[in-house]
Symmetry: C2
Subunit: 406 residues, 2 copies
Amino acid sequence: MDTLSKKGKKDEEWISDFLTRGVKEIIEEDSVRSKFESGTILRVKHGVDPTTSKLHFGYWVVYRKLRKLQEMGHTIQLLIGTFTAQFGDPSGKTEVRKERTADEVREVAGDYVKQLAKILDIQKLTVYWNNDWFGNMKLGDFFRIANHFSVWRLLERDMFVERKKLGKEIKAPELMYPILQAYDSVELKSDLTIVGSDQLFNEIQARNLQRAYKEEPQDIIALEVLVGLDGEKKMSQSLGNVINIDDEPHEKFGKIMSMPDHLIPHYFELLTDKSYKEIEAMKEGMKRGELNPKDLKEELALVLITELDGKEAAESAQKHFQKVFREKGVPESMKSFVVDKPMILKEIVFKSGLSESMSEAQRFIEQGAVTLEGKVIEDWKLEVYKKESIILRVGKRKFIKLVFNK
Amino acid sequence: MDTLSKKGKKDEEWISDFLTRGVKEIIEEDSVRSKFESGTILRVKHGVDPTTSKLHFGYWVVYRKLRKLQEMGHTIQLLIGTFTAQFGDPSGKTEVRKERTADEVREVAGDYVKQLAKILDIQKLTVYWNNDWFGNMKLGDFFRIANHFSVWRLLERDMFVERKKLGKEIKAPELMYPILQAYDSVELKSDLTIVGSDQLFNEIQARNLQRAYKEEPQDIIALEVLVGLDGEKKMSQSLGNVINIDDEPHEKFGKIMSMPDHLIPHYFELLTDKSYKEIEAMKEGMKRGELNPKDLKEELALVLITELDGKEAAESAQKHFQKVFREKGVPESMKSFVVDKPMILKEIVFKSGLSESMSEAQRFIEQGAVTLEGKVIEDWKLEVYKKESIILRVGKRKFIKLVFNK
């Protein structure tokens, strides 16, 4: 078995921080420690089911840990669930997920690795696709795997318990999902896996299955789940409370500045190396009114964007933000939307991407959140078609230049 | 669509008897009637999972119905569960069934069709093996089928409810079993299925799946379950209370004569064409002491054995029985067992097939149920090795001739 080079061995303080920061539960901590101390190169599994094409900061919490393990010299096995995502893990969902085809999943996962390049050393990443083993698996072989699982045990997953309470459906493949995830660990001979705490149940199943296959059971580090921009719920694409890893730097900056103040220490803990002592001091400072949350958010934004996009991008995003928000001005550069025939205002707002739907566009306008050349327009039926370009603004931060085709 | 010849159309009385005799539940009765009346040739599915190599009279209840449908001109599709039996349906079981290989299942089902030749017209039987579609089915295709099933609905099966109550396991493949059985109906485009009532749940699932596949849902005739020789429990190989379709005629005769009296009308109803009126009169006659149950059992045995093995065999079995039991004599012909080296008595009892195990043999001997040349022997360690043949008897009905190699 390969062992780590000298630089791979970390001191007790480093290990302690690794096993504490953002960590909700470890199974088994003693085993992880002794694996780290032994100097053996570990096979670390991390699985992701492509449900949307964008990876958000919630994933980053896990990838930061993986990056640290990469720096130690361990092997990171990134498992992309090209089979499992066709049916979907019900994690945290109270509704049945829609079935997709393998092609749709592959398309969604299209540039995951490109997005990950901002965090992980992708040259050293081993990428696996679980359609490689499940795609051609015969039903009989699956049943032989499934025979290691008790239905009662599978039903103990908290989201199943919740579905039951709510009188909501579980489709048969959803119940089978943890079996697939468990088998992934067997296939990858996983020594350690790092997951969000909502995946803990499935990964514990994997330990049992690995034992049945005469493999050493993997250890599990289950991390805290990052709270989204709404300040309450898990960051999730479907809740719309996300910052994406490949959002434009100024977009990231704006979003970070808009988060509720109480999230600041949470983000510093999960997404930076700031020491617990400093984070505690920050909380105290805010409480006593000695520290301005706006300044802390700017610091946070600078640190995070620097890590993902570089120092220059971070500083430029900061300037952009200051110009728009502090000086109430408009940004120096903005996207254009070409209006090539007369349209009413709510249609323009929607089609230019400033609202999610026509009805949302109408609501924005009626609430007075929309301005044209700085003037609030409350008539959503207004037909807009001019000779020269004008600036459309929705809310505080969304600007677009309307260009009219003559 | 093919239609029945004139002889295939049955009158109202025939249909009523068919839909009543031994029938526990029909889904949907109106639909079955109108199918029968339309004259269309129906595709009738009957599935059997090979769990033991012998078919017993419990199966015969179903096969009699199928024979009648054959005589009408309908197509009987006998489905042998070469895939499903590898994992096992938990029907009526409170214990998890042992997993088997496809080869083991095929061996068990080895001469099902030969056994069925005593009841069905096997020239007109279409035999299917569900390993043909499940054996090479990919996991993804199964998941797409399974997506039509709710876990809560699957858990409503009575044996699952009972397992839960008893705190017993359900293995994941067992929960999936009804999905497979349902898909069999889709594959066979079943119009009607005839099953024991313990299969009703699974066949109802099939109706839903057929609808999802844009097929007409099959109708279901669920039959009463035949009570075994113990007079209490469902006839079942594992309970040892069975009469097998290919038992020797005199063995069948003896078993029928040994059944508790209260089963007589039950057997006449489920396994003969005796009218309900006659069966009621029979019950009354027994109750008033005007009819001797022994005579009724002899009548039953003659009818049943005649149907399976012919009149001659039935009458010869009757003579054999009368000789052995009425005259307390020994049968004229019996099997031989060659003893080619000195053996102790319990070993002979077991190896000659008169007991299921060595320990059972010992128990029989200690209880005084074993005689050699008419003399009770209670010493199981007795070494038996003689010059001439002698008769070994266990219980009332089991005889064997021991032949010693000199």
